[in-house]
């Protein structure tokens, strides 16, 4: 297939369709309106696909819950304030062990905030977001092509682990156009059968999909089952990218758009002989803690750069403990740093700690 120039929201929508997603429900909110718009057009061409413009974010996530119960690959998308509203549903989906893909194209907050790109929902995405102490796998793509692979992978992992997955982008990832190449579409009929789905009790016992466990012992058992599932996810699905880290003296830790910018900064510094590198978590939950800790055998200074005032930095600190010094540079509110700015921050750090040569 040829390269196509597409904005991130369209890329996610197309990749989802190719991953066999056949149900989408959403509610308008900037900066992700291009996604439902594309879905409405695209699904109109597919006979068994359903697009619903829901009356609210709540209704949208609950429709996704219903479609998922019925065994269909389902997705919803929104931006920060809308994702807050969806948390009720995400908690139930986790509790019912249903697969679902939730896209958050983050904007400024708290409250109504603004529509500029930020990373201010890191805590919300990675620490559960709703009630009850569950996890969602969180993917943090940093390019158009990665939006393709991670969106498609999200549907596979959601099914495999029967869990909600959050694809965490920001206004910039959603709006920016880049050339992308799509793999061939998957025929949903070829996907593994779901032996828990509600499709009518024909020739079998009736099924139940529920998150209610009135008996505390049973509820405890279920929680431990979830915990084991999360352990398995941490073991198998943690992903990160290392960029020029081998001989680096300062490692920048950044995800998504911030990581893109940091890459540019690192490259600049390398050109002038300064040894910086980038550690980019691709899954924010599970967080690549082990790999990061291993890194601190050689790199003693980490600079966490986020488009917020300090969220992932907490996970970085927990991951490395006393093995390295963790510095932080943050830009909340939707201000997009330049590679130049980040290069400046790294350079200062190098001179302060005498790492420049």
């Amino acid at each position: 297939m040829a390269k196509q120039l597409m904005c991130g929201s369209h890329v996610i929508a197309e990749a989802a369709t190719r991953a066999g997603c056949r149900f989408y429900a959403g509610y308008p909110i900037t900066p992700q309106n291009e996604l439902p718009e594309y879905m409405s057009r695209r699904f109109a061409q597919i006979e068994d696909a359903t697009f619903v413009q829901a009356e609210s974010e709540l209704a949208a996530i609950n429709m996704v819950m219903g479609a998922s119960m019925a065994g269909v690959r389902a997705m919803t998308s929104s931006s920060s304030p809308g994702i807050s509203l969806k948390q009720e549903g995400i908690s139930y989906i986790a509790g019912m062990e249903l697969p679902a893909v939730v896209v958050n194209i983050m904007r400024g907050g708290p409250g109504l905030g603004n529509i500029a790109p930020t990373q201010q929902d890191y805590f919300q995405a990675t620490k559960g977001g709703g009630h009850g102490g569950y996890h969602t796998i969180v993917f943090a793509p940093h390019s158009g092509q990665e939006l393709v692979t991670l969106t498609m992978k999200a549907f596979d992992l959601a099914d495999a682990y029967r869990t909600p997955i959050i694809l965490l982008g920001d206004g910039l990832m959603g709006q920016m156009m880049e050339p992308v190449i799509f793999p061939d579409p998957i025929d949903p009929a070829t996907l593994p059968q779901k032996d828990w789905a509600l499709d009518g009790a024909r020739g079998r016992d009736s099924r139940l999909v529920a998150s209610l466990h009135l008996d505390p012992v049973e509820m405890e058992e279920f929680n431990w089952k979830l915990a084991r599932k999360y352990d398995a996810i941490c073991e198998r699905e943690t992903e990160h990218e290392s960029y020029l880290l081998d001989d680096a003296v300062v490692g920048v830790v950044a995800f998504g758009t911030a990581a893109r910018i940091a890459k540019g900064a690192v490259k600049r510094l390398r050109e002038s002989g300064l040894k910086a590198g980038l550690f980019r978590p691709i899954t924010l939950w599970p967080f690549p803690a082990k790999a990061l800790r291993t890194l601190t055998r050689t790199i003693k200074h980490l600079l966490v750069f986020e488009m917020n005032f300090g969220q992932m930095v907490e996970d970085v600190k927990v991951s490395v403990g006393e093995t390295a010094t963790v510095h932080f540079h943050g830009r909340p509110g939707g201000v997009v740093s330049t590679p130049h700015e980040i290069a400046g921050v790294i350079t200062k750090l190098m001179y302060r700690y005498n790492l420049a040569k």
């Binding site: 390269k3 120039l5 900066p31 390019s143 910039l172 156009m177 880049e178 050339p179 490259k267 997009v336």
Partner: protein, 187 residues
Amino acid sequence: MTTISTTKTIFSGFGGQGVLMMGYVLATSGMEEDKHVTYLPSYGAEVRGGTANCTVTVSDEPIASPVASFPDFAVLMNTPSLIKFESGVKSGGIVFLNRDLVDVRPKRRDIHVVSIPVNSIAKRLGNTRGANMVMIGAFVQKTGLVSLKSVIKSVKSIFQKKGTKIHKMNTLALKEGAAFVDGLLGS
């Protein structure tokens, strides 16, 4: 001609001038030439009130940020755009002005100015809506960011559904824009 490996251009004007289309054409042409490209439109509330702008980055290597605080080039289709973006243009950069609608001169001395009566040229060609095509033709001829050939090709594919007549008119407008720049160079 430029030798910078990463080049950022801002296109700005009011709605209906085909400003976003110019950016899209440049990005598509860059992609056709296997360059790395990003296209970032202004969005949401910014779009209300009738102004539009977008930033296109063309590079030989993966692009870090699609944002341009200091663009190399600015294509400014009306006066408010000049007021908004003049100060940000990189020293030594080029500002492309729509001479028909921009009635003030840039104040800065450290940037080049290419001033083109794109509306008049488009009107002369009997293609009043083609002013943006004249401009993008002039732009690539001057900057060499992508070849005019790639631009003609990508414009053809973008407007594929509109038929051959539109294609001919677009091609003509692109070539006229390029020719205008050649004329400037010659004089």
